[in-house]
C-alpha cells in the first residue's frame, strides 16, 4: 500500500503541474497495479486523499471530512457492485445450464413423423419457452400395421415439466411394443407418473392407436382436450369425447376407449390446450375458430394444414400465444 501511495502521489503531482497526456497514460498503467493488488474502490480514494494531503499541506479540515464521506459511500458502492456482479455470474451460469438442458430435451424428445401410404400425418409443436411442455410420440409397427400416437401436455413449465416428460417418453417406449389398448396404456402411464410427480403436477394425454388395415382409430383420453373429427361425407366436425382423469392425480385410475372409422378425406385433429385456451376468447369460440380454419384448408396435405393453422392463430392472437402449441392431424 505504501508503494502504491508513493507512485500515485508522483503521478498526481506531475499531472497537477503539467496536465499532459503522457501523465494520464501513467495513470492508466497505475490502474493495472490496482487491479493486480485487488485494491477496493474506497481504498483508491483513501490513497488519493493521502496524496492530496501530502501535496497540499494547508487544506481545510472540512475537505478531509468530505473525503471521509466519499470513502463511506464507496465502501457501500463497492459492496453492491460486487453483489451485483456475482448475481450476474450466477444468472449466466443458470442460463447456460438451461440451454444445455433444453438441448438434451430436444434430442431426447425429438419426434419423427412416420410415413405411411394409407394415412397422411401432419404435426406442429411450438414451445413458448426454451423447453416444450407438450410432447408428441409416434410409433409405427410395420408388422402389425398399427400406428400409435400420444399427445401429452405437462402442466407446469421448465425443468420439472421436462423431467416429467422424459418419464412419460420412457413409459411409452417400454409399453408400446405389442398391440396394446389405449385404455391399458393410459392406466400404466398414470401409475408411473402418479408415483413420481409432486402434488401440483399432472399430465393430460390423448392416446390413439390406428389400425391401418381397418382404418379404425381406437382412442382414449386422460383429461385431454377432446380431439376433433371431421366427417367429410357430412361436411361436419364432431368432438371425440372420451372421459378420463388427468395422469398423476390418483394412483389407480381406469380409462375408457372408443373407436372411430376414418373414411376417405376424413381427418382428426389432436390439439393441446395452447391451441384452444386463448385468453380473452371463449374455449368454445376458439374451438369453432379452429374448425373454421381447418375446414377452409381441408384439401391441403396434413402437414401444411398444421402449419397454416398455426400461422393463422398466431396472427389472430397478435403473435402473442401464451402456451406451448401442438397440433397433430391424421388424414385419410
Amino acid at each position: 500500500m505504501e508503494q502504491l501511495l508513493i507512485d500515485y502521489k508522483q503521478i498526481l503531482s506531475d499531472y497537477v503541474v503539467n496536465r499532459k497526456e503522457e501523465t494520464l497514460y501513467n495513470g492508466q498503467n497505475y490502474v493495472r497495479q490496482l487491479i493486480q493488488k485487488n485494491v477496493a474502490p474506497e481504498d483508491v480514494i483513501n490513497i488519493h486523499r493521502k496524496a492530496v494531503e501530502e501535496i497540499y499541506t494547508e487544506l481545510p479540515d472540512s475537505l478531509s471530512h468530505a473525503y471521509d464521506f466519499l470513502i463511506e459511500v464507496m465502501v457501500q458502492y463497492g459492496m453492491k457492485t460486487r453483489e451485483h456482479q456475482s448475481l450476474l455470474i450466477q444468472k449466466e451460469e443458470l442460463r447456460i445450464e438451461m440451454e444445455i438442458a433444453a438441448r438434451i430435451q430436444n434430442i431426447l424428445l425429438n419426434t419423427t413423423v412416420p410415413k405411411i401410404d394409407q394415412l397422411d400425418i401432419g404435426m406442429i409443436s411450438e414451445p413458448i419457452r426454451k423447453m416444450n411442455g407438450d410432447y408428441v410420440h409416434f410409433l409405427f409397427d410395420e408388422e402389425e400395421d398399427y400406428l400409435s400416437i400420444a399427445v401429452a401436455d405437462v402442466v407446469g413449465k421448465g425443468v420439472p415439466a421436462a423431467l416429467c416428460m422424459s418419464m412419460l417418453k420412457n413409459g411409452l417406449e417400454t409399453l408400446e411394443y405389442g398391440n396394446n389398448d389405449p385404455s391399458y396404456i393410459l392406466q400404466v402411464l398414470n401409475r408411473i407418473i402418479e408415483k413420481s410427480v409432486d402434488d401440483g403436477m399432472f399430465v393430460s394425454s390423448f392416446y390413439g392407436r390406428y389400425d391401418v388395415n381397418s382404418s379404425i382409430l381406437t382412442y382414449g383420453s386422460a383429461g385431454h382436450e377432446p380431439a376433433l373429427y371431421f366427417n367429410s361425407k357430412e361436411n361436419a366436425f364432431c368432438d371425440l369425447e372420451c372421459k378420463g382423469l388427468l395422469l398423476g392425480v390418483m394412483p389407480e385410475v381406469k380409462y375408457s376407449q372408443s373407436n372411430i372409422r376414418l373414411e376417405e378425406n376424413d381427418f382428426i385433429m389432436i390439439v393441446t390446450d395452447g391451441v384452444t385456451e386463448l385468453r380473452d376468447c371463449d374455449v368454445i369460440d376458439s374451438r369453432n375458430l379452429l374448425k373454421e380454419i381447418a375446414f377452409s384448408i381441408r384439401h391441403l396435405p396434413a402437414q401444411e394444414m398444421c402449419e397454416k393453422i398455426y400461422l393463422e392463430l398466431q396472427r389472430l392472437q397478435d403473435y402473442n400465444l401464451e402456451d406451448d402449441f401442438t397440433i397433430v392431424i391424421l388424414k385419410k
Binding site: 402442466v155 402434488d199 401440483g200 399432472f202 383429461g223 382423469l245 392425480v249 385456451e277 401464451e322
Partner: protein, 108 residues
Amino acid sequence: MELNIHFRKINNVLSVFIEGEIDTFTAPKLREKLESIVISQERLIELDLSKVTYMDSTGLGVFVALYKNVTRENGNLKLVGLTARIKRLFNITGLSELMNIEVGAKVE
C-alpha cells in the same frame, strides 16, 4: 391483472374467496395462501371461484395439489361458483368427478 384472496371463517367452514386471473404468474401466490390453510377433519374448506375471470392449467395444478393434501389429511374441500369456462376445464380433465364441485353463483 391482480389476484386477490380473502379468507372468512364461520363456525367450521373456512371460505376462501378468489378473485382475478389464475395463471403462471399469479398461481404461486395462490398456492402459498392455500398451503397456509390448516386442514382438519371437522372443517370444510370452501373455495369460491365465482370471481375468477381466467384460469389455465397452472391454476388447475394448484387446486389438484390442495385436493391431494386435503384428501391425505381426511379433510373436506368444496369448490363453488364455477363459471361455465372453468367448469369445462374441470370436466375435461376428469377432476369434476373426483372433487366436490358446485356450479353457478353462490348466495352471499
